[in-house]
Amino acid sequence: MDTNLARNLLALLARFVSGASVRWIDSQPDTCQRVYFANHTSHLDAIVIWSALPQVVRMLTRPVAAKDYWSKGPVRRYLANQLFNAILIDREEIKVHQSPVDLMIREIGHKYSLIVFPEGGRSEGREVGEFKSGLYYLCKKRPDLELIPVHLDNMNRILPRGEVLPVPMLSCISFGPPMWLEAGEIKTDFLARARDAVRRLKELD
């Protein structure tokens, strides 16, 4: 099947299953290089954010996903490699010379945007977990990247941890205003600020 057609169909399917209403709060979709960072509660999160973007932006946006999950079985491999062109990160063996941040920077070049989940894994409850430092190191090496906070609401009920079949409920995706790593900002301050940006979107519901 034609890849572009399959991509659009998958985006449509993801929109239908997630029943997502998309809000851009003080923010606009744009093709400039961005990092969308979101809270993580479900395996569908990456697809749902990807499908919520307008088609032109979607083509230039690559989710960062866990290799152990997305390279299992031919279907997941096809989805990750062919359709959403994911950057797969090996969570089991993170090497010194092959750090995930370097891999991401190499893969996006000066063209692609990223979807990342800085909590590292999926959080159990409704609270947004502490952010891991990857986002900080990414921004330190590429301070020109625009950071867009994204909040996903209700996704953990559509496909909770450990479940296979999604229940079609409704969800809400909020994209927030862009932010950047400030000059000289220390790691903990930056990560707390980024996390607060996601939590602020949650409170707007």
Partner: protein, 332 residues
């Protein structure tokens, strides 16, 4: 033979005239800011009229494509309403598979049964089998916290959004008496369904309009401060009149106009019951609307709450009337 016989075309014509005049009224009032009408109410009415045009266009398209398309359309509306219902109702992770069964198995199955006209099965599948299945499946998941409450939430959602609403397209499967000239009434089912939707939407609007008059006696202030006795009685009286005027469009031609009037009153009262029930749920959950499918219109469930309650009662009243009319015609 086409379902668009003369009567159906007349009914559609009446609705088009009503909608067009509502649109004109909105236009005219919007141009005159000194008309003394609250701008917020006018804006609500404006959005409501637009929603009706969309509803009318979708219904007309489904009718044109035939009964299967109509059943599928109502199935999709049910599915969406159920999603909205479950989204605002808190459940626990242990309910995941029960919810999957409810939305992906019982909901489509109900509409398949309705489409095939198995009255004996679709009238009990949800209130008996699904209602027994739901608590059993929750128990099987092993989470007993607030057990009854969770089961009741899922059961209510399935009952209101799916079971009740499925009785609207079920009207298409009723066996109607022949027309006075002896011909088979092929368009009768479509007109019945159209009548139900029209009267329930009109009763919503007229109850709202009547409750705007100055001397207000609010019925349940804790649930919904906009629903007044004036609104309920005035609205019901108005749609009863409208129903009586439209009697020629219904298959109740044997009983003349009063049967159509009575049915309209029933639809209006059930619509009120649906409205306050769904308001109570929204109040409890602290939400204003069930969803945001179309900006400014709330969710699907906000628009069809009255239809959900009116559909099964209207269906059963019509069915009993058909049985009675059949017996009467055999006696005479």
């Amino acid at each position: 033979m086409s379902i668009f016989d003369a009567k159906t075309l007349w009914l559609i014509g009446v609705v088009l005239v009503l909608l067009a005049s509502a649109s004109v009224v909105v236009r005219v009032l919007k141009r005159r800011p000194d008309s003394g009408i609250d701008a917020a109410i006018l804006e609500t009415f404006h959005l409501r009229v637009r929603a009706w045009w969309i509803l009318f266009a979708i219904l007309a398209a489904a009718f044109l494509l035939g009964p299967v398309a109509t059943v599928v359309l109502f199935g999709l509306i049910s599915f969406w309403a159920l999603r909205e219902f479950i989204t605002v109702t808190p459940t626990r992770p242990g309910d995941h598979y029960t919810l999957f069964w409810v939305s992906c198995v019982f909901t489509p199955l109900q509409f398949v049964l309705v489409g095939m006209g198995y009255y004996g099965l679709y009238s009990i599948m949800i209130p008996v089998y699904a209602f027994l299945f739901i608590p059993a499946r929750i128990a099987l998941a092993g989470d007993y916290k607030r057990f009854l409450e969770r089961a009741a939430k899922i059961q209510s959602g399935l009952l209101i959004c799916v079971y009740c609403l499925s009785h609207a397209p079920a009207l298409l499967t009723l066996k109607l008496p022949p027309l006075p000239n002896g011909e088979v009434d092929t368009g009768g089912g479509v007109r019945l369904l159209f009548f139900l939707v029209l009267i329930s939407q009109l009763s919503d609007a007229l109850q709202y309009a009547w409750s705007q008059i100055p001397r207000r006696h609010v019925i349940v202030p804790t649930i919904n401060p906009t629903r007044t006795w004036e609104g309920l009685l005035g609205g019901t009286a108005s749609v009863t009149l409208i129903g009586a005027v439209l009697w020629w469009a219904t298959p109740f031609h044997g009983s003349s106009w009063w049967m159509a009037a009575l049915m309209s009153a029933v639809i209006s009262l059930m619509g009120f019951a649906g409205g306050i029930t769904m308001s109570a749920i929204k109040r409890d959950r602290g939400v204003k609307d069930y969803g945001t499918l179309v900006e400014g219109h709330g969710g699907v469930l906000d628009r069809i709450d009255s239809l959900c309650f009116a559909a099964p009662v209207f269906f059963h009243c019509t069915r009993w009337w058909l049985v009675l009319a059949g017996i009467m015609s055999r006696v005479s």
